[in-house]
Amino acid sequence: MSSETIIDENFKAPEPERVGEERGSFTRIAQELVFTVDHKKLGLMYIGSGLLFFVVAGLMASLMRIQLFFPNSKFLEPDVFNRFFTMHGTAMVFLVGMPIIFGFANYLLPLMIGTRDMAFPRLNAFGFWVFFFSGLLLYFSYLAAPGLYAAGSAPDVGWFAYSPLTAKAFSRGHSTDYWTLSLLMGGIGSIATAINIIVTTLCLRCKGMTLGRMPLFVWLFLVVAFLVIIAMPPLSACQIMLLLDRYLGAKFFDTQAGGSAVLWQHFFWIFGHPEVYILILPGFAIASEVIPVFSRKPIFGYPIMVAASVMIAFISLGVWAHHMFTVGMTSMGNTFFAISTMIIAIPTGIKIFNWLGTMYGGKIRFDLPMMFCIGFLFQFLIAGLTGVMLSVAPFDWQLSDSYFVVAHFHYVLIGGLLYTIFAGIYYWYPKAFGKMPSTKLGHWHFWLFTIGFHMTFLPQHISGFLGMPRRIFTYEADRGWEIWNQISTIGVFIQMPGILFFVGNLIYSYFKGEKAGDDPWDAWTLEWSTTSPPPEYNFAKLPEVKSRRPLWDLKHPEDPDWKFE
């Protein structure tokens, strides 16, 4: 009996029934999207709306880059520029990063652990809609924030909104309130989804799926969900305090009444730094699935990978003040946060070596997901090294709030997170839509985006060294910054067609792509055992697993993994 038939008999569901012609009509689709509690539809809705906000926030970044092309440029007014970098940062973190990673979690967790849905499907839908409307609320500020005072427009206080910029005296009108309420709402949605992830992972695993046999993807999302429920409430708390300050005259951040502006920084970064790991650990999750499959080897050092992830999460709760070296802390504080920040590089380094160890001696296939993962490894290494540089407090005193920092965290979030998101989308696209993404368009996407990305952000390290502060809307001609800014801006216009190829690929392959089959990559985790796209109930019969690679066991009954684990 061939492995195909074994998989068929064990897991595959009967062909879904076709439900008449009205299925494709617009109202029918809209109705399905609004009422659905299906984790796969919600997952795709998360990713889709995340990509939508990504395009909007990306366009804002491009306009800012155009403004910085020439010194003394008048393309954007200063206040417009302030709104743009605030909206760009806030949107990219809360409306792009978070929803897309939650989308991956929603779509894949139940499939990977072999169950039919998330633990609380309606809470799941609630989480999505709360996120979605918090995004609309944030952008609605462009229309509504002027309010009766006709003062202000979109928020312009930066994505970390340092006090006292947000005080009533300095931020008139309602712009800051839109920012606050949107983040408060989004936080509730994130916590709901995170609780759902924890419960699903701990309580709904299929028979035989012990914690030690869960795919690393699931492990990492469990860790991320724990970070979300611990790190998100501090953000909500400081937003509540800010609202009390602005509307009831509380004195939390009012320095003239004994309040402290630095306390806001502490509270914000107690959330803000774990947030960075909330965003990058899902990137690790995707890389940990893609790299083994395309190296044709099981992941190297599974238990160490799990331990390193837990360690990263744990240490990340104690490094927040490295964002605040320039505030002027005690030397004890500086030392503590410098050392804890350096220590976090150790588990991260372990992970990079384990991925390399997985690839070492493997039979590497350079398909699209693998290309993006290799890009991720290189770029994330650079990001990690500049991170360690910035953890040295005296170095940070020189370069804090300069373009060096901008370059550093764009290498983390684009070179690290976004590349793995691309890898993940290409990897699971056949599962979600039953069609293969086009390799040719994907190659255009990869090369244009990679060249553009490095052109944009590599020179920013140098302009940072030359003293260019972040968030300035223009600069004088004699600073020696022009050439670096100009290369940077040109890079954006190489990235843009890359993104067009990506979006084009998603649409083109949906209609014209090759049929994918159930397991196009010859992978090992449970989501590939059901049909592509999976039926609403995922598995006709719930699977049972005996090792970390259940599909390998089925395909190779003569040499199953469980003999060696």
Binding site: A119, F120, I191, A194, I195, I198, V199, L202, C203, L204, R205, K207, G208, I229, I230, A231, M232, P233, P234, S236, A237, C238, I240, M241, L244, D245, L248, G249, A250, K251, F252, A257, G258, G259, S260, L263, F267, I270, E544, K546, W562, K563
Partner: protein, 202 residues
């Protein structure tokens, strides 16, 4: 030859989703309270003008007894539920609700006193800001807990004791215990520690 693991393993057991869910909720709520407690502690003795905690705060004896006592009565109610004693359950659960409601009444009178007689509002000084936000956050949790308790009570009054819903009821009691534990922290920090700080001499 190693045996096929499925033949040797113990039966497959997983934790209850409700329990894991409520524990996660309690963890995330604790993180929220931690920040407000830290803010309170950070600003202790930081007010530039009065009134100060040692001048206006009195130990909320009856409120504390009511709230901590309600943690015991809810245990009694659960005991009755286990023995499927509907009247006993309604009685003890009702007493729990009454104690919770009394706590809210008690705090309301305390705040009335503070606002109208001692002139301490949320905008008076940092003590006012942190005091009302911390105690108020806890009060809002008591209120939510009361809503949950009342829902259970009314459902039981108009229906039967739902045998397959005992775990739901247990989860409500876990939340109520959590609200109690938070109150112990709040009382310690606000009414025991911060009132020891002397009024600054001006």
């Amino acid at each position: 030859m190693i045996n096929d693991p499925s033949e040797t393993e113990t039966p497959w057991r997983l934790p209850s989703p409700r329990k894991v869910g409520i524990i996660s909720l309690i963890v995330t709520e604790s993180a929220l309270f931690t920040i407000f407690v830290v803010a309170y502690v950070f600003y202790m003795g930081g007010s530039l003008n009065g009134p100060y905690p040692s001048e206006v705060l009195e130990f909320p004896l009856f409120g504390t007894i009511a709230l901590l006592g309600s943690s015991l009565t809810i245990l009694a109610a659960e005991f009755m539920l286990k023995h499927l004693n509907r009247v006993g359950f309604l009685l003890w659960w009702g007493v729990t609700i009454a104690l919770g409601a009394y706590f809210i009444y008690f705090t309301a009178t305390e705040w009335w006193h503070l606002i109208y007689e001692k002139n301490l509002t949320i905008s008076t000084n940092v003590f006012g800001s942190t005091f009302y936000s911390l105690v108020g956050l806890h009060l809002s949790h008591v209120f939510i807990g009361l809503l949950l308790l009342s829902t259970v009570w009314l459902l039981t009054l108009f229906g039967k004791i739902p045998k397959d819903h005992t775990e739901h009821i247990e989860m409500v009691s876990w939340y109520w215990h959590f609200v109690d534990v938070i109150w112990i922290v709040v009382v310690t920090v606000v009414y025991i520690i911060s009132v020891r700080i002397p009024v600054p001499i001006s």
